[in-house]
Every structure is written in C-alpha cells, then in structure tokens.
Amino acid sequence: MRMVYLDNAATTPLLPEVREAMLPYLGEAFGNPSCLHDWGDKARGAMEEARSQVAQLIGANAEDIIFTGSGTESNNFAIKGLALAQQNKGKHIVVSAIEHFSVLHSAKTMEKLGFEVSLVPVDKSGVVDPHDVEHATKKDTILISIMHANGEVGTIEPIAEIARIARKNKVVFHTDAVATAGTIPVDVNELGVDALSLSGNQFYGPKGVGALWVRKGVRIMPLLDGGVQEGGRRAGTENVPAIVGLGKAAQVAQASMPARIKHLTQLRDRLLTKLPAKIDHVVVTGHPKNRLPGNASFCIEFIEGESMLMLLNMQGVAVTSGSACTSRALKASHVLIAMKLSHAIAQGSLLFSFGLDNTAEDVDHVLEVLPPIVDRLRQMSPLYSKFTKQTKEAK
C-alpha cells in the first residue's frame, strides 16, 4: 500500500543529517555540559554551537536563546515567566482566541493567580486585526502574545504591525513561532518582538527540544527552578543530543528555505485547488494567501473528521482533524469556532500538512481515495440526508 504521511504539522521526521549530527552525543560524547572536564567541555562546545545555529535562524544573539524541552514548554515559560516578571507594572495579558493551548491554558493558569486575560478575536480567515489588539491593550497590560502562524489553518498573522502597537504601549510582546521558525523566514528584529518560541520537531529536528528567545534586557522568571543551566533561566541537565539536532536542523532549514517553500507551496496549492473541484460542499479554512506553505486545511461538510481520518488511514494516508472526537478534549477545534464556523462544519475538519518528502503523486493519491470515503460517510450521515431532502424540496 502506498503510505502517504501528510501530518507534518503534528511532527516532522528527522533529517538524516540531523540524526547523524546527534549520534555522537548518544554515544561517546555523553558528557554533562555543566561539568568541568573533557567530557563536559565537549558537550558544552556542541551545545553552544547549536545555540549559535538557532540564533542565526531567527536573526538573534546566541546568548539570548534559552533551550527548553518543547514548544509547549517555551510557551508556558514565556506566558508565565514574562507575566510574573512584569507583574509590578500590571496584571493584564492579551492573547488571541486561536493561540495554541500551551499559550491559552498558560494564560488561564495566570488568571487563577490573579491576572486578567483578554482574548482578541480573529476574522473568518483566522487573521488577528492589529486594531483589536490595540483596543484590548490597557494601562496595566504587561504582556501580549500572538502566534506567528496557526498550525491548524495555516494563517500567518501580522506580527510586525502588532509589535509596533506593543512597543508604542511599552508592553512585552511574545510570539509563538512554533509553526513558522524553520519553515518560513523568521527574524526577531524584523518582527520586532521581545520573545519568541520555537520547536525542533516542527522542522525536521528532534522531539524533546525547543527554544525560547528573550530579548536582552527583558526580564523573565524561570519556569524550571534548580541548577544554573541556561544562565539560571532554565534548570536541568541539558538534552545535548536533541539540542545538537535542533542546531543542525536550524542550519539546514536556513540554507534550504527558499527551495522548501517552493516545493511545499506547489503541493499545497495543488490540493487546495483540486480537492474542492472533486468534492462538493468543501470549505477551505484559513487565509487564502497568507498561509503556511505546507498547509492545506478544509472542512468537509455533513461528516465528521475522525471517521474520515480512520478511513484515510486504511488507505495509507496520515492526516489530522480538529474534530471533537479526535481532540480527546471532546470539543471541536477552538480555532475553527473562533473563525465563526458552525460546530457541524468544524467537526468535518481535515488538515493536510505537507513535508519535504511529499510529491505531487501524494496529492493525487488523496484526490483519488478521499472522494469515495466522503461519499460513503455522507450516505450514512443524517445531516447529509436532511440537506439533500431540503435541496430537493427547494427545487
């Protein structure tokens, strides 16, 4: 059976050269970078090289990069650590309604600790209006966090504009760049942000490692207390092999970014245009133009995501859905709901996220196997039979 992995938004495979770079640190070079002997030196040297590589990817200084254990940790660290460090100035936090749960739920935790949180809405394409951010910003606002791009619908946000508003109001501005860093150009100074999260497993680097960049001079409280690793800002024995892998992945991503973007955009656009031509009642979600190069996301009306996903998996196609049943939290994607899609439509979400290994044939495979699956589920769907009856009656 043809196996087609189209879930690169969930996680990407390791590049062979990234794995190669990691292997010595899973072998003889196993030292702890905090240690003052040759083993420690070797590990520390490799870690600092990786720090430079990650810094370069985002146009930052190496010393301002803090390695973490995941994109989620970076976001928790940013929201909680920045808010706690600025709380003498105020207790109000602004985030968008479509942030990743690691931002949204961190903000909720801060609410429990006495902070106030405002959610900024998005339009039908998932775009945050900078004016809404300005509107939400108050005298005691100390932190704004808006994601660079949403991994689920692919929409890229106007971060530089929002950053200007934050700067004008002297508010610390964090962006979750987990879906963008290593995928599209990210430059902390062009974006004008104060803090930025990224994650290795989103751009062919390892799992178990992320980074938070914090602009020099911006204060942050540690999330993980303990030893003096990472300049006292993130304790714990460093995950050296993963950090080395992240550095290598950053270096490769930077070098090959234009070619990657071109390749992914072609695949994405092929599916975005051909799928609605093959299947009726399909909604393309996310922004039509300002979207991640590998993201093709849809809602297929009248049917539910998990059942599509299971039948696609039987055909060797791996995708994801923001439907209630797949989320385990048993709620439809908060992103689609924030974009004003009805629950019924949001339940039919399907996200195809392309990666470097995908080809046009993969797209064509989807175009071949998906329509019968949709037909089959629609034949079972009470929503579809109601719709067809109504349509008939209307005629």
């Binding site: 299971m310 339940q347 079972m380």
Partner: protein, 130 residues
Amino acid sequence: MPVYSEKVMDHFMHPRNVGEIENPDGVGEVGNPVCGDMMSFYIKVRDNRLADVKFKTFGCGAAIAVSSIVSEMATGMTLDEAMKITPRLVADELGGLPKNKFHCSNLGHEALQKAIKDYRSKTKTKGGAK
C-alpha cells in the same frame, strides 16, 4: 487510530443496517454537532417486536460502530427488551470502548429508545399496537 476493539473496527468498517425506513413506525434522533455525534434511528414494529431497525449517524468511528451494533442487537427484540439496552451492554457487546468515547458516542440506546417512545406515543394516539 483510536484504541478501538476489533469488533468496533468491524462495525465501523462494515456497519449493519445503515439507511432510513420509508414510512417508519418510529423515529428517534439524538446528539448534536457540538458534541460531535448525531444519530437517527428508524424502526418498523411487528407484533410488538422490532422487525427492522435502520440508522444514520454523523460521528466518529465509535458512534458509527455503536449505531450499528445497537441496530443489530435490537432487531428481533420485543420493545420492552429493546428498552433495556444500556450503554454498558452496548460497550460490552463491542468489546469495550475507549474511556473518552463512552459518553458522547455511546448514544445508540438513547436513539433507539426515542424511536420506540415515538412509536408508542403514536400508537397510543391511534389507540392500539400494531
């Protein structure tokens, strides 16, 4: 894939009794798109027994498998027997359901009961069982 039993997978892949009944004796609809699962059950009653049970379901693999097995279990039962089908019985018959699927997707018995009640309320007004 969700951690579904073989039986769930079988009923999901090959659901029994999918469809509608023309001029059904009873119809039951449950669920809503917020929860993610909706089921419509259609029944034909003969001699106080379920002569035919059909369903349409919008939902995940569990919801489809539940609908299918409930339709299979119920067919041939007396109405009173069918009214006694519980979520636990359904889940057991399916070889178990994942914890998070138990409540939201395990609505088949409810849809069936609604259809039976629908039938009963109609026959009451008509004044007599078929």
